[in-house]
Symmetry: C2
Subunit: 150 residues, 2 copies
DNA sequence: TCTTGACCTTACCATCGTGGTAAGCCCCAC
DNA sequence: GTGGGGCTTACCACGATGGTAAGGTCAAGA
């Protein structure tokens, strides 16, 4: 099948299929005489795997590792589990970070009467520094690759 | 003071100060004869405000709105509160999304014995589709601008 | 006075995953 | 044979941030 059909069958856009190929996540697709890529069921299977891993928040790089593990029929399941649990830890850290933001915002919002009057503790909180004067530059351990945007 | 001092005083890197200026978040800085930008205490105050808003996960665009509200001494506190609570909603959605990922991963990991043997339900889950066959393209309502990377 | 090093300037490039666009070729159905 | 849709590559864009390079400036010390 052509790339469009593979896209429909796998849930990965044609655009992203080309990107994954270029990124080395999937092998170079076979080509027809015209230059069109063509795909078989195996390829779609692999793409679906990738799609699901993305839905679970793995980065493209991590998916590369997962694919290696998938293809290595003799690897220990412990290796896979370690990768998965490591990712869970990263996700949890992200959640904690966001929940900290939520808590601060809710505290501020709770003390804001939210009516016609102009004075507002939310603005004041941003001005003055909420709890600590400057929460310090944030370790940013999960920057960029932490969790995909969507 | 020069940009470096303003950066230290505000917790915003010189790089980002220039970026915020270019993005219209802060007005064009005054310049010395040499072309050096210089800043006063007001500017640092504004930068600190921005810094804290970023720490709370507001996007640069939203911070623009916040700054407008800050500068508009006659706006209703309700306007600020609405912005803040809207953001809280977006953050909560993000948390829910990530927690869904965590739940799935933990379910998979729990059923993986995690020893030397190669068979692994985590890989199988990615292959077969975890719960629903294809979780469907994800509404992606909070893409890009949802929550900053770090 | 000259030098040195720290600071400033602008203009680029990279990240990460995704979407868009444009120019041009290909294929199938009518 | 023609039209519309699919395919190709090669670009640009996003958002927020960091990096680098090439060049101007400033202040302190020799």
């Amino acid at each position: 099948m052509n790339i469009g059909e593979a896209a429909k069958a796998s849930g990965v856009s044609a655009k992203m299929i080309r990107y994954y190929e270029q990124a080395g996540l999937i092998p170079q697709a076979a080509r027809r005489d015209t230059g069109y890529r063509y795909y078989g069921d195996n390829d779609v299977h692999r793409l679906r795997f990738i799609r699901r891993a993305r839905d679970l928040g793995f980065t493209v790089e991590q998916i590369g590792d997962l694919l290696s593990l998938w293809n290595d029929r003799s690897r220990a399941s412990a290796d896979v589990k370690a990768l998965a649990l490591g990712h869970v830890e990263a996700l949890r850290a992200k959640v904690a970070e966001i929940q900290g933001m939520i808590a601060t915002l809710e505290t501020l919002a709770a003390s804001c009467h939210g009516d016609d009057r102009p004075d507002c503790p939310i603005i004041a909180g941003l001005e003055e520094g909420i709890g600590s004067p400057l929460p310090r530059p944030a370790p940013r351990r999960f920057g960029k690759a932490g969790v995909p945007a969507s």
